[in-house]
């Protein structure tokens, strides 16, 4: 039965993400589903709008990572204009994109995940939040604030004060970087560097305590998917798609992101609005893959900055094995922050960074454009078609949380199998389910809830659909 409903933003504020765990006749966990009510009418909303409006429109609607949408959308517009943007413009876009990664990863690690990591998964939920961290480890909470500010500040300095900077535009960026701004950003680098280095050191030591979680937190075989640069190194802005399997074999390499429809299928499941992308050559649902920080470090053959490369070598180990536990998304985020800081410094010191050639101007020269970049949560794809007047006739977006949809479901199932005893879910169990989802740092439409906690309802159902137990995060 289908039914027409209107998506009212207010109802989404109150909305909860729902998880159902199905038991078999022996009361053992059989299956688990993570239901997300993403907004699906978005593509429809774009139709009839001039393509040049898309970057700022996208950034406005998704204010969680506006810069990521600006970048992917502007790249799709570059393709419609059929221009190659000036080198300096690409470098400036890169800097802003890296700053976005840093600020987003800092929020995820320090303020959403650190309460679990520092205070324990079963600790009192009343204090298992940023305030508890603030009391027990004030320096850490402050480091998080400073590091996020570092990223956010760069975005503001480059784009102007506004949250939705119209600085990244089709064809490049709309203003060159001034010497003063460059030096301002460079002056902040050492402080940010110190924070990330001491956090890495602390977290690597602390991880030893989490062997149990590492084993059960979405620790399974999947493929990993994302962009790499021409030489196979870590890449956030451009490049080619690489897919590796759980053993580290390269399944596909140097795929042109513009051909994504040849290798990605998008399945629709009845339990979720969110589409489930999969790798077509393997089929559905076996074509499951993960994207995001862990995936990027798993597919890369090296990292192009020295300190991050050293951390990456340690992360992957002497045999360059693929890291399977989603618990390691956390460490991967820290390594990417380090890479971001180093790379921003490197780009700012390049001789042409202050060039005033930063924008290519053209009308629509192609009726279709695809823009792909790496957002903090993983590969982001914008695909538009236009009519001859430059108005959007069709749009398709694949967001990082979508790519990870199958893997999140599988992760919830694994945690349920390990931690559900009987039919009544406990708070500690709910928290682990939440924590495994949080490894992926999904952007949820209903993410305005209590500090650091996702709005979740967890139901345990019998084999014939009867609700046996339920617990909710208030």
């Amino acid at each position: 039965m289908s039914q027409t409903i209107t998506i009212d933003p207010v109802s989404r504020i109150e909305g909860h993400a729902k998880i159902t765990i199905e038991l078999d006749e022996q009361k053992q966990v059989r299956d688990a589903h993570f239901h997300i009510t993403q907004f699906r009418g978005f593509e429809k909303f774009c139709e009839g709008r001039p393509f040049t409006e898309m970057p700022s429109l996208m950034a406005r609607i998704c204010g969680i990572c506006p810069v990521s949408h600006l970048v992917a959308s502007a790249k799709a517009c570059d393709a419609i204009m059929a221009v190659r943007i000036p080198e300096t413009a690409a470098k400036l876009r890169r800097i802003m994109n890296l700053a976005q990664h840093i600020q987003s990863h800092a929020l995820s690690f320090f303020h959403l995940s650190s309460p679990d990591l520092l205070l324990g998964m079963d600790s009192d939920p009343a204090t298992r939040n940023i305030f508890g961290v603030m009391q027990a480890h004030p320096h850490l909470a402050l480091d998080g604030i400073k590091l996020r500010k570092f990223g956010q500040q760069i975005i503001e300095w480059l784009g102007g004060k506004r949250i939705h900077p119209a600085w990244i535009v089709p064809g490049g960026v709309n203003e060159p970087l001034t010497e003063e701004r460059r030096d301002q950003i460079l002056a902040e680098i050492p402080g940010a560097m110190q924070i990330i280095l001491r956090t890495l050191e602390w977290f690597k030591e602390a991880s030893v305590k989490y062997t149990d979680e590492i084993r059960h937190f979405a620790n399974f075989n999947t493929m990993f998917f994302g962009l790499v640069d021409e030489g196979g190194g870590l890449e956030m802005y451009d490049g080619v798609i690489r897919i590796v399997d759980a053993q580290g074999n390269v399944v596909a390499d140097r795929l042109d992101p513009a051909n994504y429809q040849d290798f990605i299928g998008e399945a629709v499941e009845p339990y979720s609005y969110l589409k489930s992308p999969y790798y077509k050559n393997v089929g559905y649902p076996e074509g499951i893959y993960r994207v995001g920080p862990l995936a990027r470090l798993n597919i890369a053959s090296h990292i192009g900055t020295p300190l991050a490369h050293k951390e990456w070598e340690e992360f992957r180990g002497p045999n360059k094995r693929v890291i399977l536990s989603s618990f390691h998304y956390h460490l991967a985020r820290l390594i990417e922050i380090l890479y971001g800081i180093e790379m921003i410094e490197k780009l700012l010191n390049e001789p042409d960074i202050l060039s005033d050639r930063v924008r290519a101007v053209a009308g629509p020269n192609s009726l279709e454009g695809i823009g792909v970049s790496e957002a903090p949560r993983g590969t982001l794809m914008h695909h538009y078609r236009i009519d001859k007047h430059g108005l959007i006739t069709w749009a398709n977006l694949i967001i990082a949380t979508g790519h990870n949809n199958l893997a999140m479901n599988k992760g919830v199932l694994q945690v349920a199998k390990a931690y559900l005893k009987g039919t009544q879910p406990t708070e500690g169990m709910l928290n682990r389910v939440e924590a495994v989802i949080r490894c992926y740092d999904p952007c949820l439409s209903c993410s305005t809830h209590a500090v650091g906690h996702m709005p979740l309802v967890l139901q345990v159902r019998s084999h014939d659909g009867e609700i046996l137990g339920e617990t909710a995060r208030k």
């Binding site: 207010v10 429809k44 609607i61 204010g63 969680i64 604030i145 939705h164 009845p270 993410s447």
Partner: protein
């Protein structure tokens, strides 16, 4: 694709100066939101919130623009109800 809905700051509590909290209204639904990342936010301004943390502030005009988009999307939203 998720939507970022701006919320209006109703009041600010600075009991803990490092972790200021605000009461933020999303179309009448009031939530407690952490302002550590936007220490200069003022009552009456709008914030974008992710899992309880305000990420950025918007002035009224900018928030109005976002609401206009959300409104026109609401009118277009004809979705299939997913079965549980």
């Amino acid at each position: 694709m998720c939507l970022a809905v701006p919320g209006k700051i109703l009041s600010i509590s600075t009991e803990d100066p490092v972790m200021p909290m605000a009461r933020v209204s999303f179309g009448g639904i009031v939530k407690e939101v952490n302002l550590a990342y936007v220490p200069t936010a003022k009552i009456g301004e709008y914030v974008i919130v992710h899992v309880g943390f305000a990420l950025s502030t918007l002035d009224e005009a900018e928030a109005g623009r976002v609401f206009k988009y959300l409104e026109s999307m609401g009118e277009l939203a004809e979705l299939e109800e997913p079965s549980a």
